[in-house]
Each structure stands twice: as structure tokens, then as C-alpha cells.
Symmetry: C2
Subunit: 668 residues, 2 copies
């Protein structure tokens, strides 16, 4: 091994750069440019500032790190290896982007312990950062005492030009500025290169001025390539401002050190190639082989292990004191951190029998949220400016606002996409908070990637989506979901519930709260629905069940969801009066039904009964699996229209007459 001729800081920074270069080169795939340019800021942050315990990535008061520019994943993996995380070994770095490796193409929290959130889709990470900072602020306000600070971690984000171009980042930055989240510090890797080349081709706004307009504290490090003192000073200054989030623009050169590819889009997303790597070695005076880390650098970096152990031990001491002084709060916190729900928590869920006048399922949702909020202190959330339409306000708490972070009603503003990423991050804060986010179902389209990421990254988020069909009426086709329910069902690992009454709504919430690795989306009506004979929380949990049946083998099965279950019930009555055996299946959650064992599924939908009609005020696509060639679907495969909801439902065929006629056609 060659003797180091560089300062220890320089050695560490170059170690990051070359691990990234080597990992990408070996994979022949990946993004070396960002790690090479951002290594100085990342090293400074991790070595001089970040409090974390590599040996316990779940330590609750760790500083959170988010690589919003997730394509630069080798930066994060290199940092994690160098700092001593068990989840990323040198061998793992050599397996970058390979089948089943711990070092996938983009950081994935569910694969690599120590990765906080899943990034890659640009802009999500900075919005996640806002959610993590929100969680910290909330828990600090709830639990900290003047003589015992349990929560005071920072959330650090590295974001790039791409993140800053995405609308979601603007939404998130605006609300973070409003909330004054002082422990959120974003380092903007200002390398003025994106995939299309110089940012001059499409991105010439004044980013710093924009963040100032959002109410952020803004700093600039002019030479982010070599001036680590300036980076450190900026982070110090950022920490000193406690009532505003800080954005530090750190101007760098993408692919720093590569003589021919540095400062070009060519180094963004492709391996450097052997000869350019050689030239880069010379340029950076790097005398080590591929994946070789100088011992000095490694041992310096690994001081993070002792530092982390001490920090956690100190925190444990604080917690011990806290327990003696504030036993009740400590118990509350320990229950929360344990992930255990209060015993019999679900007893609070509303139920009703058919004699109780039915309401819109959004109203059942409102009642349910307000029933569980006092029992589950971990419930935190709100709406994207539709609080009184989505009915998501919880009455036992006030508004989460600057200076009132202990409150649990969050006003996200008309920012669905950021709301999505913020909720995801609250769930991934590791403290078992249960976030919920609400909007009109149609605007799930505005936040679809965040909903997808909630599923991919295995979060417990509750998406409360109201106004779930053409029945919403006058607002018309821009506001009427058609394809939304089906296309949300198509997202893996997402429970899409479309409950039909109070019992099913409660069942959906029960599943939502108890499913720790699967988010749940509720599609709820604007209009009133009757409470059904035969529904229950337990049945709804199964996803699909027999709501009512005739004696003997059914001649036909009617399958409905949400507002259309009652149509099935009425149609069944009409058919039975004509002597037919009719089964009505309520299917509030297809995804859950699919998870039941084959025997249960067969008991509900016997293969021998091939005459089936599915009824749902939405696109038909997802129902053919259950009705086959001999069945039929009553649905909507065109856009909606503006008119009173009752008229639209009639015009679109959601009448007993039409369902009956369809059923008779199927019966032949």
C-alpha cells in the first residue's frame, strides 16, 4: 500500500470518490458524477456533524440523512461502508446494482438498514426530509422537558438540480418554510449539469432567492470542491438558525477529478471507463487500487462507531433520567417506540346495524378518525386543503403549526405530492407515528409517485381519498374518478379499500392501522349510503365476503364495492323474487381478498358459479378477473359529466333496472 500524501480529510473524500467510481465501473452501470462532486460536503457532514450510531441504525434520536438525488446512491453506500454500518460491507459495494445485493441502484430503506427513505424519483427526498423534520419537531414538542431533551436530531438532505426542478420540491420547501422547521438542513449540490447538459438549457432561475421567498435561511458555499472549511462553517451557521430551515447552495463540479468527463453530463449516469479512471487517479493523486481504501482514511472514518456509541449511550442516560422523573410520559413514549398498539384499541371503532341511518363513508371516516385519535396518539395527519370536504380534522388536537408542533392536525396546503412524501417520511421516521394524508380521490393523480413509494418502501400510511366516483356530481369530469380505483389497485403492496358502510369503513381503518408494512388507501363517498345487513369489521378485513346469500348453489353472484353494494343488494332482492338463487359479495378490498387462502376465496367465489356481475362506479378493467367470459361488469369506461350526482348515476347505468337487466343477460 502506498503511503498517504494527502490530508486525512482529503484522503477520506477521495476514498468516497473512488469507491463510487469503482462500484459503478464494476457494475458498468450507475452514476459516479454526483458522488465525485458531492464527496466533500458529504464527508464534512458525516464526519464533523452527523450524530448516528452505525452499529444501531435504528437509534431513535439519530440525525437523519436523505440523499434526495438518489441516483448518487454510491455516495451513500460508500459513506455507510466507511462509517462502519454492518449493512454495507466492501463486498456489498462490489455487488452494486446486482441481483439481491444490499446496494441496489437507488437507496432502498427496505433493503439496506441505515437507509432512511427510498429515493431516486427526483424531489421525493427533500419532501421526505420535511416529513422527517416534522416528526422530530412533533415528538420534541410532545416529549422533551426542560431538563431532558429526548428529540433534537437534525435532518440533512443532499439534493441536486433535478430535485430543484421538480414541483414536489417547491411544494415541500414552501410548507417547510411556513412551519419554520429549523432542524431541516438541505445541501443543494449546485453542479449546473443535468442529463440534458448544462442547466443553462432549462434551469436558469435563482434557486437561492426562491428558497428565501419560501422563508428559508439560505447560504452559499462557492467552492464545494475543496473548501471543506466553508462547508463546515455553513452547516454551523445553519444549525445556529433555529426557526427556519436552511438551504446551503454548495457549488461543485460534477465528476470532480475526471479530466475529460468532469463538468459534463457524460459523467452523470455512466461508468467512467478504465482509461478515464486512470486519468482521474492521476488528477486526484490517488495511488490505490480499485476498492482499496487507505487504512488512515478507514480508521478515521470509523471513529463514527465510537462516536455513535457514545452519543447513543448519552441519550440512553437521558432517557433513564426521564423515566424516573416523567414516568407517565416515558411509558407513553416507550409504548410508541415499541410499536405495540394499545390493548383492545380497535374496540373504539364505530359499528352500526342497518336500522341506523347511513351516512357518506367520508363521514364514517371522520367518525372513525375521531374515535381512534384519542386512543392512538401516534395518529398525525391532515388534508391538502380539503379538510372540511375530506372530513379529516381530529377534534382532540389543534393545528400543527410553527410554535405548536405538538398538535396533530396538519394543513398541507394544496400540495398533494409533497403531502405524499411527507407522510411517507413520517411513517419512516422509525417512531411508529401513523400519518394520514387526504385529498379528493381524483387528485391521487397528483401524488401518484408518492403513493407508489409508500407501497414500495413498506410504510404504514393511511391515504384518505374522498369523492370517489362520478356520484360526486356537479364538479364534473375533471373531478370525477373513473380509472383511479382500478389503477391504484394495480400498485403492488397497497390496500385499496372502497367501503360500503360504517362497518366496512371501520374494517378498513383496522387494517390500515395494523398493517405495518403496507399502506392503505380509502376511497370514500361524498354521498350517503345505507348501513348494510351482514357487514362487519371482521368480514371487511378479509377484503371480500358473502354479504347475503340464497339457499343452495347460487345461480348468480353479484359483486359490488362501496356505493354500488346497495345496488347489488336491491338487484338480488328483485332476482330472488323471481326465484333465483343470488349471492351478494361485498369486495371492499380486492388486494386483501387476494391474500386470503384459496379455500376462503373459493368459499366466496366458487369456481363452479361462473355467472357473475361486478358493479362499481369506475372503470371495469380490474373486474374481469372475477367475472370471466360469462360474466359482466357494470362500470364506467368513459369520462364523467357535470350534473347532480343522482342524475349522473342514473344516466351512467347505476340503477337497479340496469344491473337487473345485466344480471338477466348473464343468466341467459
Amino acid at each position: 500500500m502506498t503511503v498517504a500524501t494527502q490530508s486525512i480529510d482529503q484522503l477520506c473524500i477521495n476514498a468516497i470518490r473512488f469507491l463510487a467510481i469503482d462500484g459503478v465501473e464494476k457494475a458498468k452501470s450507475g452514476h459516479p458524477g454526483l458522488p465525485m462532486g458531492a464527496a466533500p460536503m458529504a464527508y464534512t457532514l458525516w464526519d464533523k456533524f452527523m450524530r448516528f450510531n452505525p452499529k444501531n441504525p435504528n437509534w431513535v434520536n439519530r440525525d437523519r440523512f436523505v440523499l434526495s438525488a438518489g441516483h448518487g446512491s454510491m455516495l451513500q453506500y460508500a459513506l455507510m461502508y466507511l462509517a462502519g454500518f454492518d449493512s454495507v460491507s466492501l463486498d456489498d459495494l462490489k455487488e452494486f446494482r446486482q441481483w439481491k445485493s444490499k446496494t441496489p441502484g437507488h437507496p432502498e430503506n427496505f433493503v439496506t438498514p441505515g437507509v432512511e427513505v427510498t429515493t431516486g424519483p427526483l424531489g421525493q427526498g427533500i419532501a421526505n426530509g420535511v416529513g422527517l423534520a416534522l416528526a422530530e419537531a412533533h415528538l420534541a414538542a410532545r416529549f422533551n422537558k426542560p431538563d431532558a431533551t429526548l428529540f433534537d436530531h437534525y435532518t440533512y438532505v443532499i439534493m441536486g438540480d433535478g430535485c430543484n426542478m421538480e414541483g414536489i420540491s417547491g411544494e415541500a420547501a414552501s410548507i417547510a418554510g411556513h412551519w419554520g422547521l429549523g432542524k431541516l438542513i438541505a445541501l443543494y449540490d449546485d453542479n449546473h449539469i443535468s442529463i440534458d447538459g448544462s442547466t443553462d438549457v432549462a434551469f436558469t432561475e435563482d434557486v437561492s432567492a426562491r428558497f428565501e421567498a419560501y422563508g428559508w435561511h439560505v447560504l452559499h458555499v462557492e467552492d464545494g470542491n475543496t473548501d471543506t472549511d466553508a462547508i463546515a462553517k455553513a452547516i454551523e451557521e445553519a444549525k445556529a438558525v433555529t426557526d427556519k430551515p436552511t438551504m446551503i447552495k454548495v457549488t461543485t463540479i460534477i465528476g470532480y477529478g475526471s479530466p475529460n468527463k468532469g463538468n459534463t453530463a457524460g459523467v452523470h449516469g455512466a461508468a467512467l471507463g478504465e482509461s478515464e479512471i486512470e486519468l482521474t487517479r492521476k488528477e486526484l493523486d490517488w495511488n490505490y487500487g480499485p476498492f482499496e481504501v487507505p487504512e488512515d482514511a478507514l480508521s478515521h472514518f470509523r471513529k463514527a462507531v465510537d462516536r455513535g456509541a457514545s452519543a447513543e449511550a448519552e441519550w440512553n442516560q437521558t432517557m433513564a433520567t426521564y423515566k424516573t422523573k416523567y414516568a407517565d410520559k416515558a411509558a407513553e413514549l416507550e409504548r410508541l417506540l415499541s410499536g405495540e398498539l394499545p390493548a383492545n384499541w380497535a374496540d373504539c371503532l364505530p359499528t352500526a346495524t342497518p336500522d341506523v341511518a347511513g351516512l357518506a363513508t367520508r363521514k364514517h371516516s371522520q367518525a372513525t378518525l375521531n374515535a381512534i385519535a384519542p386512543v392512538l396518539d401516534e395518529l398525525v395527519g391532515g388534508s391538502a386543503d380539503l379538510t372540511h370536504s375530506n372530513l379529516t380534522e381530529i377534534k382532540v388536537s389543534g393545528d400543527f403549526q410553527k410554535g405548536a408542533y405538538e398538535n396533530r392536525n396538519v394543513h398541507f396546503g394544496v400540495r398533494e405530492h409533497a403531502m405524499g412524501a411527507i407522510c411517507n417520511a413520517i411513517a419512516l421516521h422509525g417512531t411508529n407515528l401513523i400519518p394520514y394524508g387526504a385529498t379528493f380521490l381524483i387528485f391521487s393523480d397528483y401524488m401518484r409517485n408518492s403513493i407508489r413509494l409508500s407501497a414500495l418502501s413498506e410504510t404504514r400510511v393511511i391515504w384518505v381519498m374522498t369523492h370517489d366516483s362520478i356520484a360526486l356530481g356537479e364538479d364534473g369530469p375533471t373531478h370525477q374518478p373513473i380509472e383511479q380505483v382500478a389503477s391504484l389497485r394495480a400498485i403492488p403492496n397497497l390496500y385499496v379499500y372502497r367501503p360500503a358502510d360504517v362497518n366496512e369503513t371501520s374494517g378498513a381503518y383496522k387494517v390500515a392501522v395494523e398493517s405495518k408494512k403496507t399502506p392503505t388507501l380509502l376511497a370514500l363517498t361524498r354521498q350517503n349510503l345505507p348501513n348494510l345487513e351482514g357487514s362487519s369489521i371482521e368480514k371487511a378485513e378479509k377484503g371480500g365476503y358473502i354479504l347475503s346469500d340464497s339457499e343452495g348453489t347460487p345461480d348468480i353472484i353479484l359483486i359490488g364495492t362501496g356505493s354500488e353494494v346497495q345496488l347489488c343488494v336491491e338487484t338480488a332482492t328483485a332476482l330472488r323474487s323471481e326465484g333465483k338463487n343470488v349471492r351478494v359479495v361485498s369486495m371492499p378490498c380486492v388486494d386483501r381478498f387476494e391474500e386470503q387462502d384459496a379455500a376462503y376465496q373459493e368459499s366466496v367465489l366458487p369456481a363452479s358459479v361462473s355467472k357473475r356481475v361486478a358493479v362499481e362506479a369506475g372503470c371495469t378493467m380490474s373486474w374481469y378477473k372475477y367475472v370471466g367470459f360469462e360474466g359482466a361488469v357494470v362500470g364506467v369506461d368513459t369520462f364523467g359529466a357535470s350534473a347532480p350526482g343522482g342524475i349522473i348515476m342514473k344516466e351512467y347505468g347505476f340503477t337497479v333496472e340496469n344491473v337487473l337487466a345485466t344480471a338477466k343477460k348473464v343468466l341467459g
Copy 2:
């Protein structure tokens, strides 16, 4: 009728207010607040500035008006009625939000002539405004001559707080500032109320400073309720600045004039109610009955008809001169405006036989775009910062940039959502430009509402989406589409093409260019595919067709799309070698196949053949309609993984072995 005691301007403004109040009151549904507050700016704009011809809403050089805050639709309908548009009569105002009326809940271009774009989903309209201004700038640069200005219209947008909170508006404003679109003027109705109440709860950023950071010219009218002179002065100043878009913040009171509901969220989205209307009449000194417009106001407003006729006549004169002086350019323009495509334009589409080495369909798309670009000058578009991955650059043109608006390659930056709305508006500019917008298929999730609006508003937009499956490889699950193709198919009036080779790619483009009221989305591979025996442009146009067949009735039908068609072909070969009759159906566009007549559909997929296997590297949901209970789908219903594409495809079962095994199981 009472004699008017107000100035004519005041009378006109109050006429707008009360038509909005009365329309909403009669419907018992709608949004009176915005029209009441924004009436002064809207009146000033329409009466003193806007050039349009109510009797010919399609006059090509009309100023474009976009109500980005589309919920305030009664504002637009009132303006249109008062200005003399034939599409909105007084009776139509009385039918606001009713079944089949010309005055639906939100403005819909496909229902009401004179409405330029469909708004309602917040933020879309301001981004549409950017697209309309882009179209104007482009056509002006291409056709204007020093002595003959054919294109010099303005695009005016009224946007609200909600629009400004949405990320899409930030994206659009950033790129508009970059492009320096001087003829774009946005009036921001700063009424500091959104649905959740005061904007203080979630929106306290400095919007003006933010727009300045984007490079906009920013003005402020402090009293937008009464100071029409200040509004007029601001619009004058906006027009005087020709190298930047202008944002005029107009501070107003929502529901101005309503003593109890003005300046509250209560007036945003609900009828005022009879007694409050009476109080508002008193407050505004309005002595007219419901839907009654004082003659003075109507006759003043209706001067727009003569003004518009003169403006168009003048333009026609300019055009006549232009034709004599610049016959070639005039012919080019007339062809464009006629909507006729050049004769035999499709002859340029690439085709190939199987002996030609296959390429990725994104490369076929690149070749096709470059084949048609010289033939179709109307093709304008680009990528959201993935130009060299999506392969969307056209070589016959340079980059559309400030000072180079004649060019056709647009760099949207990493702003998928704004790209979507900008493309929609280019298509809706009414000049038959053909916009295309590109990104990775996975990021269709970032722009899904814009894609939906392209379908709803009946545009001819081409969405070029590459990297269409898990086969993209190492980037992993955040970048690998699973549910995207199926869920895009679920959008009504959208052709989703997933072509399998060069011929099918050309077929998809032929459909895309010739479908004037239906957008087309192409899902294209990253990886190479062989050119198929039996494919053709004509067959691809049908959406699904018999690619290869055995003699006699098929024992089984294999249905594939895109990269999986070859798997079906190879599986068929294996099955045939075992004596089975196998039909292979290539189904590049399910939507188009569904449009074919029943006889054609039956000829491809005979009801008598119920043994079917569909193969697609995406979620299975959309295929059960075609395989029924006896068939099977080889697809992916979980998230992808990070690894080389070939390995992933194998691990996920996209092998001849697996498809063969599945087919045999189906055959029984």
C-alpha cells in the same frame, strides 16, 4: 328595470358578480367567491385589453384566456355571455352544472366553444398558459415578417392561491421565466383564502419574490376590488415588458360584496343563499333581479363583438398581404391551419423485415420522429431532461430557447407535470401543432393528471415513454414500471401503444399523428428487440392482430405486447413442434383493438378458443378480460428489483421455459 346609478365599469363588474351568484344559487352548487373577487380584473382585461372575436372563437390570432382557477367557471361563462359568445346564452347560465349543459362545473374546451383549455385541477391552467405562449412565440418566429405580423397574441391567465401552491405551477413558471415568454401575463387573484380558511394556515411564502426568482416581471395591484385603473395600468406595464412573462398580484377579497361571507372560505365553494344574496345586492347597490343584466352593461360589454370583428378583419387583411408577398410561407401556414396533413406523409415511416437487425423500440421511435419531423413541420416537443435516453431530439431543428423560438426541440427540464400541461396547451392552441413530451414511463406517475387531461380535453399529444418495464435493469424498482401500462390503459380516450418492433412503432406514430382528438402514449423499450415476421404498420393500427398462426383452429392463443411478443413467438414454435395449433396475437394497443368491429375482434380472438395466455412484463390486471377463467397471464404483480435487465427478466419468469410451462398448464 331600474335606472343604473353606477359607472358603466361598475355596472359591468357587478353584472359579472351577480350572474355568478345567480348561476351558483340556481344550481345550488358551484363557486361564487372567486368570480365576485376577480370580476374587476376580469372585466378590465376583457373590456380594455383582450382581442378576440366572440363570433369566431377560433380566430387564430385571438388573445388566449385561461381561468387556471377553473372552479370559478361562472366567471368565465358570465364573461362569455356578456361579450357575446354564441356558445353561452343566458339560458345556458341558468343551466350551470346541469346534465348536458354548455356550462359545466369547470371550463371544458370540448363542450363550450371559446373555452381554450380544460381547467379545474389546480395549477394546470397556468402551465397551459405557458404552452399557449410557447405556441404563439413559435409561430411568430416561424411566420411573422417585418412588414406582416400574423402572430402577436397574448396569453392571459387568472390563477389563485391554490394554483400557486401546486408544484406544477412552480415548474411551469420556472421554465416560462427561462424562455422569457413576454406575451404571457398571469393575474394572481391574491385573496388569501383557500378551502381550509386563511392562507395563513399553510401558505405564507412571498409569491412575488418567488416569481422574481423565476425571472418574471412582477407587479402588484393593492386594491383589486375597486381600483380598475391600477389593474389597467399594471396590464399596460406587463405588455411593455416583452422579454419576460409578467405576474400581476392582484389583492382582492374573495366573495367581495357579501357582507357575511366575503373574505371567508364559506364563499369559496357554496351558494350564498337567498338572504345573503339580498344583503349582497344592498351592499353592491344592485337593483336587478336574478339573471337580469342592465341593458347599459350588456350593450357596453357587447361592443366586444364589433371590436372582435374589426380585429379579425384587420388580421385577414394582413394575411392577404402576406399571401401576396410570401406565397410559400403563406401556403405552409394555410396547410397548417387547415389541419390537413401533407399528402402521403406516412410514406416516410420506417419499416423493416425480420432480416434487419432489431433495435430498442425507443430507437425506432427516434428514427420515426426524425423521419416525420422534416415532413411534419408541426411536430414540436422534447423531453423532461432525458433527451438522450428517450431519444427524442429531432435533427432538422435546433433548440427552442429565448431568441430561438422557431426551433422545435424543447427542453422541459426535470418538470414532467408542467411538460404535460404545456403539451396539452400546444395541442389546444388551435393551430394544429403536434406536441410530444417524453420521460421514463415510470415518471408518467409525476404527470398523470396532465396525461388524463390530454385525454379528457381531446388533444393530439404524443407521449413518448421509454424504459417501459423491469427489463430496464439496474436502476431498480423506483424506476421500473409495473402498474403503469395497465393503469394508463384505464384512462378513457388514450391510446396506449406498446409496440414490439419497427413496424409497430411506425404504426403507433401513424395513429398518433392522425388521431386528432385522442392522445397516444408510446411505451418503449430500453433494450433491443427483433423485427418480427408478420408485423406491419396497418396491422399495428388495428391495435391487435394475428402475428402468426397454425393451420386449423388454434388450440391456444398467445397474446403478447412489446418486448414479450418475441417470447410468444418462440413459445409458439416450441408448442408447434409438439403438434399444437398455436396462434400468436400481437396486441400493441388494447384501446384500438377495442374500437374494431366485433367481427374483426372475433377473427383475432375467437370466442370458441378459450385457452389463452397473455404475456406482458407488467401488472396482469388488464389481461383477464382477454384470457378468462381458463387462461393465464404471465406478468408482474410485485415491484421490480435492481440488477441487469436480462437477469431480472429471467428471475421474473419472462423466459420461453416459463411461458411454455404456463401454456401447457392452460392446455391441460
